[in-house]
């Protein structure tokens, strides 16, 4: 291979980059933007989380154990499910507040990741953590955004337009008809980020994964092919996940007799 070896980052390099975030937080404090504290916490969280992940992956890559990979995947899903719930202003009460997002992400991200590993990339073994974990991570991360946006939109609009929905129900419309417009709108908003990402990929933005591969010394053409694969998988995963979430969520908003169940939404 004629590629450059990987340039190792020193703690000094990272510290200098972190200083930029500190500067930004200071500026935010000066301008009274009120985001400085949250930014510092988020930066600290990502530092701890990514370094821990590095440690975990280092250990994981040396074993190639299906159970360990599954355990990490489950943990990732559990956190993503929590994150989706936390991003909603009005949540479904009870199990479904967590379950709607988690179940839709499980259905979409896990099935797409399995497809990619078993049919497309085909590492040996298929659950090789070097492939399985980053792939699932990217899928989950993007699906999570789509699902969270779609669900938030669904519950918020349902609450705002509950009188319109009930006016339609009172005239004998089916639940799916009465909430059809809101469903479509929620789904559309969930899909906008990935459509935008695909539209500007390579022109305005250099996607993160491709950047990473190029920095790590991969030939640009190979990096582009991997990035395309990932973009398509993410689009499919986000689409399926958002659809599942909107469908599950909107079903839960009505009962068996097609009554709007406001009491199942918090806030």
């Amino acid at each position: 291979m004629a590629t450059e070896p990987l340039i190792i980052l020193s703690p000094f390099d990272l510290g200098l980059a972190a200083l930029l975030v500190l500067l930004l937080a200071g500026l935010s404090w000066q301008l009274q933007l009120g985001i400085g504290r949250r930014m510092l916490i988020a930066a600290a969280r990502s530092t701890v989380q990514l370094l821990l992940l590095g440690l975990v992956l280092k250990a994981l890559f040396s074993t190639t154990n299906l159970w360990l990979v599954s355990a990490l995947a489950t943990l990732m899903l559990a956190v993503a499910g929590y994150e989706v719930m936390a991003r909603q202003k009005h949540r479904l009460r009870g199990f479904w507040g967590y379950g709607t997002g988690a179940l839709s992400m499980f259905l979409s991200s896990f099935s797409i990741a399995l497809l990619a590993l078993l049919v497309l990339v085909q590492p040996a073994p298929w659950y090789a953590p070097q492939y399985a974990i980053p792939l699932l991570g990217m899928l989950l991360g993007n699906t999570m955004t789509g699902v969270a946006v779609a669900l938030d939109n669904l519950t918020r609009q349902t609450l705002e337009k509950r009188h319109e929905i009930e006016a339609r129900l009172a005239l004998g419309q089916m639940a799916s008809e009465a909430i059809g417009d809101i469903r479509r709108d929620a789904l559309r908003t969930g899909l906008i980020p990935i459509v935008n990402a695909m539209t500007t990929a390579g022109i305005v933005s250099l996607p993160g994964m491709m950047t990473g591969q190029i920095l790590a010394g991969s030939p640009p053409m190979e990096a582009a092919k991997y990035q395309l694969l990932i973009l398509f998988l993410i689009a499919a995963g986000t689409g399926l996940g958002s659809m599942a979430a909107v469908l599950l969520g909107s079903r839960r908003l009505f009962d068996a007799r097609s009554r709007l169940r406001r009491d199942r939404l918090s806030g």
Binding site: K161, H163, E164, I165, E166, A167, R168, L169, A170, L171, G172, Q173, M174, A175, D181, D255, A256, R257, S258, R259, L260
Partner: protein, 209 residues
Amino acid sequence: MGPDLYPAAVSGLRLDRLARAGVRATGLDIAAGSCASLSGPSGSGKTLLLRAIADLDEAEGEVWLDGQSRSGLSGPGWRRRVVYLAAESHWWARHVREHATDWQPQDLDALGFASEVLDWEVQRLSSGERQRLALARALAHAPEALLLDEPTANLDQTNTERVEALVADWRHRSNGCVLWVSHDPAQRARVADTHYEVCDGLLRSVDGD
């Protein structure tokens, strides 16, 4: 074939031990083609009762329409027959026309509207116009019973008379039954044959005003 057959002989709307949080009702009986009035202090549960009859809220007990039980139909199937008209009308599409497929020109006319009203934007309508059009919209869905929650609350005398006349006309031509919530004793006497009131969460019959 058991007690279920008994109400089948009765036409019209009939409540059988209907109960939900806030209000209980039994013995309400509206013959086909007739109108019953419902009164009671604000917050006594009149709207809750109407919503329970229309199956928009959960309630125990049973409601019968022309021998057909509420529980024997799907929610939407029941609500197509027993249409609840809320005190405040709500519209979901941009133009009036999009809210029904079978608008009846003679109903619009009876309410003082030309057919062009269907092409108007809902946003441009006054609340009184919306309230009258909500009745036309309900009738366009060909119900068999109407649950009217203060349908003339925001209307002047002319339009109140129009609404009363149209509802009476609809009852006679389609043999439908009406439950009419009204605060006005004179109106109750004009529009209804039988009278009920909700008092302390309990429905009871009121002998002639």
